[in-house]
Amino acid sequence: MSFPKPLLKLIEEFQKFPSVGPKSAQRMAFHVLNRDLLHVEELSKAILNAKIQIKRCLICQNLSADGSCEICSNTSRNTGTICVVSEPKDLMAIERTNAFRGTYHVLGGLISPLDGIGPENLSITELLKRVSKNNISEIILALDTSVEGEATTLYLHRILSPVCKKITRLGFGLPAGSELEYADELTLIRALETRSEVG
């Protein structure tokens, strides 16, 4: 015997979520069946609303419920500095530090030909337009240290050099509060290469 069709369909849909396998999908589907109709209506409304209401910020491509996101519409932020990140979650990570007062630009991914992602699939044209229209004193490239992150950093550096004088990238260092002996060799080597004077 197999499950009734509507249930199968629901399991199939859940299984399309990232890192959800067949077993988890089944559990999620049964969870839905076991809840009150009211709760389920709320869930489906939340999904629809998020999809309909959340848009890309017209300036930085961050997620936003309005035309421009919270950060871009905050007048106390320094609009002369742009920190380029790959995904909104990276932006959130930097925001949590409260240590950066500039603005962001969200690329929407990293260059990866294997996944069919080239520069044209990222919001690079928007970034270029933004830099040439405004007075930007520094662009910080805050991307992963994977080969894809490195390729994107190199590419952006090349494209942005003619339009912005100061292009920086995040430093390579030891994880804070960590013991030196447990750092992997590559981290240690890079930390050595980018060492700085004491004080």
Partner: protein
């Protein structure tokens, strides 16, 4: 060629490095457990019973890869979720419990002394060392360039765990660049923007690629004189061995010069790479040449001479690992006595370090010299199960 004795002697018994090996759902073993307290372990069994599988598992602990499996799914007992290799290892200054889980998907998990490691491949390396002799070794001479590169890499992985990380990012960059080269056939990207995009991969390929080349060159410089001396001794000074790294760029040991040459060659081969849709130069295309008296062994050496070269090179490999790591690697002899004539067998046995832990497989105990059997532990294997354990006197 004397070897210093670095194995600890305690209560008249030698402490072996690999004390215990457990295999769960690994190849044809549902459940294997071996406790080793003798320097020599002889694994006897008919063909296809699982002898090599045990040596392969031990070798994975040292090199993080199998020399014969194409993908991790080959290592997992059919229809099982994952395989487990568990080992207890006594190094010169610590005791290690290694648990390596291998999933058919290629994902691995590694725990060392109960601590989960972040990089299951790179973090495995450098804890335990082994050198494997098998009848497939002749491919080192007569096989394809990839056979020789795989050998080079598996030895250097053991010596230098940074090399593994560099190799991983090199291969990733090459795969990405190949995908880009192939995709241009469909997307019809303009040549200018294609070049711009290729360059960000080339920059990384040059960086990691040059490091790979110079690490390989250094290794070859180190192993060459040792292998040469062994070859001199086997051949009674009639065969002079030489090893040459055949580089698709230009084998040169100065970092900046190498990077410059690499860049130049990549620029030159742009059109070719574009038309073939793949990267055609770099360490993933390099090769190693063995010469005897100035002539290429692959095409000129006799079978016997080729066997001698393999023997000399492998013994040299053992010596380089011991010198660099100050630890005698575990020796894995996969059915080699059936392959080697008596004089080469003698040569092998007389040039091994005195206290080397050895695992040897054979179909017939009569293939093995009496002298070697002394004090050995014997495991008889049938269809993935141990049927008998005995000790020789």
């Amino acid at each position: 060629m004397p070897w210093h004795i670095s194995t600890v002697v305690c209560h008249n018994r030698l402490i072996v490095q690999l004390n215990k090996l457990k295999l769960v759902n690994y190849r044809n073993y549902e459940n294997f457990e071996g406790n080793f307290d003798h320097l020599k372990t002889i694994i006897i069994g008919q063909n296809a019973q699982g002898k090599t599988n045990i040596l392969e598992a031990i070798n994975i602990l040292a090199t993080a890869q199998s020399d014969r499996a194409e993908k991790d799914s080959d290592l997992v007992l059919w229809n099982k979720e994952h395989a487990l290799i568990f080992a207890m290892i006594q190094t010169k200054d610590s005791e290690l419990e290694i648990a390596l889980q291998i999933n058919p998907s290629g994902r691995r998990k590694l725990k060392i002394n109960d601590v989960t490691k972040k990089a299951p491949q790179a973090d495995l390396l450098g804890n335990f060392f082994s050198v494997m002799f098998s009848c497939d070794d002749l491919y080192l001479i007569k096989g394809s360039p990839s056979n020789r590169r795989n050998w080079l890499d598996s030895v250097i992985f053991q010596l230098d765990s940074k090399y593994h990380r560099t190799m991983q990012s090199y291969q990733k960059s090459v795969t990405q660049k190949n995908a880009l080269l192939k995709s241009t056939r469909e997307t019809g990207l303009s040549k200018k923007s294609l070049k711009e995009q290729i360059e960000v991969w080339n920059d990384q390929i040059i960086n990691s690629g040059s490091e790979i080349i110079s690490t390989r060159l250094n290794f070859i410089e180190e192993i060459k004189p040792i292998a040469k001396e062994f070859q001199d001794n086997i051949s009674r000074y009639t065969e002079e061995l030489d090893l040459i790294y055949k580089c698709t760029i230009s084998a040169c040991n100065d970092k900046e010069a190498l990077q410059f040459l690499f860049k130049q060659s990549l620029e030159k081969s742009f059109e070719e790479e574009l038309s073939r849709g793949q990267s055609v130069i770099g360490p993933h295309r390099d090769d190693l040449t063995f010469l005897i008296n100035g002539k290429e062994a692959k095409s000129f050496a006799s079978q016997g001479q080729q066997r001698s070269i393999v023997l000399a090179v492998k013994l040299a490999e053992l010596k380089v690992i011991e010198k660099r790591k100050d630890e005698i690697p575990v020796l894995l002899l996969d059915d080699v006595f059936a392959e080697l004539d008596e004089s080469r067998q003698d040569f092998l046995l007389h040039n091994l370090p005195e206290n080397i832990q050895t695992f040897l497989t054979t179909t017939h105990i009569s293939n093995i010299q009496k002298e070697f059997l002394k004090g050995a532990q014997i495991l008889e294997i049938k269809n993935g199960k141990v049927t008998e354990m005995a000790k020789c006197v």
